[in-house]
């Protein structure tokens, strides 16, 4: 008799353990839901962790107003199916109220503005823990994250002074006004996520599968045509067969030329990929430490 879990089951079990710790240790946790595959995985794991009870977390979507329309459709259907409450924190609203100012120019993106809106929503909702789908394999600053990551009253991350995290003992103590970011899928890789979603037969947004779309190229990235981005004169539109490897804003999500039309195709593609998934994210390309800088301020 061998008692050995395969790696996906072990990762699942670890994530479920973390999700349950959050439910037990915090008064008012919220699950950050972007509509991307990592937050879809989180929602699925949360459903399993508390079955047959409902997920004990509110879902929070920081809506930049620059989403792919497919993302919003998927989001609304999922929330309905799970029976959870969705709160939308709108970047557009914050701009309209003149709380934040939109970037200008060809590279304008609402990526950075999300941090303000996120922190504002966490404060207003008095959320003491925000569950995120960040993974350590995604990016070098995220490789340093804890499962339970402390944020001060300004929502800031202090990467040089993190609490040691041992075994499965998570220190969730904090002062009033402070909060935690919790990353239950820290140890999953991109390939793990796809393999697991395939095994679990989780429905996914159509954006992840190959489709025809009007695109243009900029700095080696393929970007989708959208009303939210201004093209330079030399950037011409053409139609190509592409898919998303990550889903972010339409302004900063690099697309991949691909004819992967099933999840099995995607797994084959990911397991032989020579570039990281975030290699196509314009928001990471702003500097060598773009992610660390944003995370310190309170980004996802």
């Amino acid at each position: 008799m061998t008692y050995q879990l395969n790696h996906l089951k072990e990762l699942e079990s670890e994530s479920i353990f973390v999700l349950r710790e959050v439910a037990a240790k915090f008064e008012n946790p919220v699950l950050l839901f972007s509509g991307g595959k990592d937050s879809i995985l989180m929602a699925h794991l949360a459903m399993k962790a508390f079955h047959p009870a409902r997920i004990p977390f509110v879902f929070l979507h920081v809506d930049t107003g620059h989403n792919f329309p497919e993302t919003l459709t998927y989001r609304d259907e999922l929330v309905e199916k799970l029976g959870v409450r969705l709160i939308v924190a709108s970047v557009q609203e914050a701009i309209d109220k003149r709380l934040i100012v939109e970037e200008k120019g060809y590279h304008a993106s609402r990526n950075l503005l999300q941090t303000f809106v996120l922190l504002d929503a966490l404060e207003k909702g008095k959320y003491d823990a925000a569950l995120g789908g960040g993974r350590r394999d995604e990016e070098k600053a995220r490789a340093k994250e804890r499962f339970f990551s402390h944020r001060d009253e300004f929502g800031q991350w202090d990467p040089k002074n993190q609490r040691p995290e041992l075994w499965n003992l998570f220190n969730a103590r904090k002062q009033p006004g402070e909060h935690f970011r919790v990353f239950p899928i820290s140890n999953w890789t991109e390939l793990d996520v796809w393999q697991y979603l395939a095994e679990e037969k989780v429905p996914l947004p159509s954006l992840y599968f190959s489709h025809k779309r009007k695109i243009f190229e900029r700095d080696g990235l393929i970007l989708a045509d959208s009303p939210y981005i201004t093209r330079k004169p030399e950037e011409v539109l053409e139609e190509r067969v592409i898919r998303c490897r990550t889903i972010g804003d339409m302004t900063c999500t690099g697309l991949w030329e691909s004819d992967a039309s099933t999840i099995e195709d995607i797994i084959r593609e990911v397991s032989t990929a020579r570039k990281t998934e975030r290699g196509g994210r314009a928001d990471d390309k702003r500097s060598d430490t773009a992610m660390e800088d944003r995370k310190k301020e309170g980004y996802f």
Partner: protein, 415 residues
């Protein structure tokens, strides 16, 4: 998909070839992506370094890259068709003992690197001792830079003997030696043609095949309850499930169990998961257990077997690694976290402080500061249900938290 997960830890300083070794494992298993490689190539070039500095792959923080040192544990991932690996890459300097302890806490294998030119140094002893203190089941000693010692079998044997002499004092069940050159690739992924005298497998072969199936405790049943699942819905009106992750032993439907702390007995009615009912469950599975009788059970309570119970006591004796610049206070009060329990405790006595380089026990020095390791006693406000750390790494470990700053100040292994 039947790939196993193996967690290993490495520790080391800038020069011992650790980054090169990890870089090679990642590179040869095709886990370094082009854009990552191009990014570190560009950074290396900009900083005027000779060649591509693979350490930049793991040194993710700005301060680490600027100072060329590893400050914190970085996690790296790679996979082969046989296994998926999680590498906890830790800084090796004495001032980062706490990071080494952190990285070691969940590892199945500790990888200790020895520079063949220098043989066993202080840092080797420290890593090996921490691996033994944290009860990492397997230790693999890589004698590196063999290319610089003419791939000499004598050098290898000498270091191996010296290490064995020292490791007799440690408590590690399984030690394995491999002569390698991380830089040239000998015995890392490919077998070396330069060391025909070495008949063992490569490091990758070892990592893919070392038997980790018995690393968990499958004998002593321990189920710490995380929370109670009560759906309050029409379909599940009387459902009352205890959610948790199995910390030891095998739970079977129908098992007679004892509930702690009450001591009441019941029987397992059902082991539930989203995917359906299970006949049995084992570590590290997360499940929901339903009992035949209704009891008032909740978070912090534990389900165990009648004839195999943990120690129940308010007084514990432990080895502690201190993490904070405010020293450990005798008679100081701290918050203690153990499995799913949280309670206050008070430090009793400091029995001795351990010199982690010589393993000498100092009975006089009672100053336990940052990175120190000591044997102490603690009294808890409530009884704790625990095993010795040697028997079970989950029910045998605690952390101490400062009640004023909320920092995690110490990690303890129960004796």
């Amino acid at each position: 998909m039947t790939t196993e997960l193996l967690r290993f830890t490495t520790a080391g300083s800038v020069d011992d070839g650790k980054s090169t070794l990890i870089g090679r494992l990642l590179y040869d298993s095709k886990s370094i992506f082009e854009d990552q490689y191009e990014a570190i190539e560009a950074t290396s070039l900009r900083r005027g370094e000779e060649g591509v500095n693979l350490a930049l792959l793991t040194d993710g923080l700005k301060a680490e890259r600027e100072q060329g040192i590893t400050i914190d544990v970085a996690y790296r991932y790679f996979a082969t068709p046989k296994r998926k690996f999680i590498v906890a890459d830790c800084p090796g300097h004495i001032q980062y003992t706490r990071n080494m302890v952190t990285g070691a806490s969940t590892a199945n294998v500790a990888l200790v690197l020895i520079d063949a030119r220098q043989g066993i140094v202080e840092q080797t002893r420290r890593h090996s001792f921490i691996a033994s203190l944290l009860q990492i089941p397997h230790l693999v000693v890589c004698i590196n830079k063999m290319d610089l010692m003419d791939y000499s079998e004598e050098v290898y044997q000498q270091i191996k003997e010296e290490f064995s002499g020292f490791s007799n004092k440690l408590n590690v069940k399984d030690i394995h030696f491999i002569p390698i050159s991380a830089l040239k690739g000998d015995n890392v992924v490919e077998a070396s043609e330069n060391m025909p005298w070495y008949k063992g497998g490569t490091l990758m072969y070892y990592l893919e095949n070392v038997h980790i199936g018995s690393d968990n405790n499958f004998i002593d049943t321990r189920f710490p309850i995380q929370q109670v699942i009560r759906p309050y819905s029409d379909d599940y009106h009387d459902y009352r499930g205890y959610a948790g992750r199995i910390a030891g032993g095998v739970l079977k439907k129908g098992d007679e169990v004892t509930l702690l702390p009450s001591g009441f007995s019941s029987r397992i009615a059902k082991i539930d998961t989203y995917d359906g009912e299970l006949e049995e469950a084992y570590p590290p599975m997360s499940v929901t257990v339903l009992l035949e009788d209704d009891f008032d059970l909740g978070r912090g309570d534990m389900i165990v077997r009648q004839n195999n119970q943990p120690t129940i006591s308010q007084d514990i004796e432990l080895m502690i690694c201190w993490f904070n610049d405010r020293p450990l206070q005798v008679r100081g009060k701290y918050l203690l976290m153990h499995t799913t329990q949280e309670m206050r405790c008070m430090v009793g006595e400091i029995r001795y402080k351990l010199n982690i380089n010589t393993l000498h026990r100092d009975l006089e020095d009672k100053h336990i500061g940052m990175n120190d390791i000591a044997r102490i006693t603690i009294r808890c406000t409530k009884p704790l249900f625990f095993d010795s750390y040697r028997k079970n790494r989950i029910t045998g470990s605690v952390i101490l938290v400062d009640e004023h700053t909320n920092e995690t100040v110490g990690a303890g292994m129960i004796i």
